[in-house]
């Protein structure tokens, strides 16, 4: 079989494009779903916290966490079916253990720190969640490791510079930002 150098160049370019597309597709699959689900939970939860009485917001966050967690798990399993790996079961177990331990450490940190108001407690929870996402990104797809960093910076800016509108800030820029990022990653990759 003989081909010209131009044909060889085209074939190599096609291989490179396909390799990158496959890597990005696998890496972004879980990321965009995580971003959209977490973004919706934050958008609704923080918006309610800003405008509704404290007595109601606890229940709203509880409900949203259950819905978000269930939706994330179901969609995560669906995405996991795209690529079958012998190590999937072991990795899934480790992910669950990691998040449970992070929740435990987060609760312990809040008990020790004894935050004086809801904003401080919220900021600590946000930081722990972002640490969790950073760890997941570093372990599973280095391409998506960047996104928890700007969300953390946004949260810190809102906390220190706009304390009166902190929840609204987290709702629109944190939650809304995650939804936009998720949609962008999905459409681009």
């Amino acid at each position: 079989m003989n081909i010209s150098p131009n044909e060889a160049e085209e074939a190599l370019a096609a291989i490179q494009t396909m390799t990158q597309k496959t890597r990005h597709s696998i890496a972004s699959g879980g990321t965009y779903i995580t971003l959209i689900v977490t973004g919706i939970v934050w958008l609704i939860g923080f918006m309610c916290t800003q405008f509704l009485p404290k007595e109601i917001t606890g229940y709203i966050w509880g409900g949203l966490s259950i819905i978000g967690g269930t939706l994330g798990t179901v969609l995560g399993f669906r995405m996991g079916r795209r690529v079958h790996s012998p190590s999937t079961g072991t990795i899934a177990k480790r992910i669950v253990i990691f998040w449970l331990l992070l929740v435990f450490y987060g609760i312990a940190a809040i008990i020790v720190a004894r935050p004086t108001d809801g904003k401080q407690a919220t900021m600590l929870i946000v930081l722990f969640i972002m640490i969790g996402y950073l760890a997941m990104s570093l372990l599973f797809s280095f391409a998506s490791v960047w996104w928890p960093l700007p969300i953390t910076v946004l949260a810190l800016i809102g906390y220190f510079l706009l304390p009166d509108y902190y929840y609204l800030w987290m709702s629109i820029l944190g939650g809304g930002g995650m939804i936009v990022l998720g949609l962008y990653i999905h459409s681009r990759w």
């Binding site: 079989m1 150098p5 096609a14 390799t19 890597r23 079916r81």
Partner: protein, 97 residues
């Protein structure tokens, strides 16, 4: 010197192999996911997969997940080796330009 492989060189089959070789050696990919990734039809993908399977370059695994049939595809060790040789052959042609 590495030689070009006629079965793999066909454009769709070349992209199928590129996608499968990108995965870890023990990983397999869902048929519908591969179809969407390559932007081809079910029939087209099925026909090319059969040719690659007949050549021994890929393995097709049909399983039931929640009572629904799922087809998983993976590159065999032979397929990976042949693909790498094909890439080397392409690169040597390009270098001789």
């Amino acid at each position: 010197m590495a030689e070009l492989n006629e079965t793999i060189h066909q454009p769709v089959r070349l992209r199928i192999m590129a996608a499968l070789v990108t995965l870890e050696s023990a990983d397999e990919v869902d048929f519908t996911y591969l179809r969407d990734l390559l932007e081809v039809t079910d029939g087209n993908l099925g026909a090319h997969l059969r040719k690659l399977e007949d050549a021994g370059y890929i393995s097709v695994n049909k399983v039931f997940v929640e009572r629904k049939p799922h087809t998983y595809v993976s590159a065999t060790p032979e397929g990976r080796q042949v693909f790498q040789e094909h890439v080397k052959a392409l690169e040597s042609i390009l270098k001789s330009k």
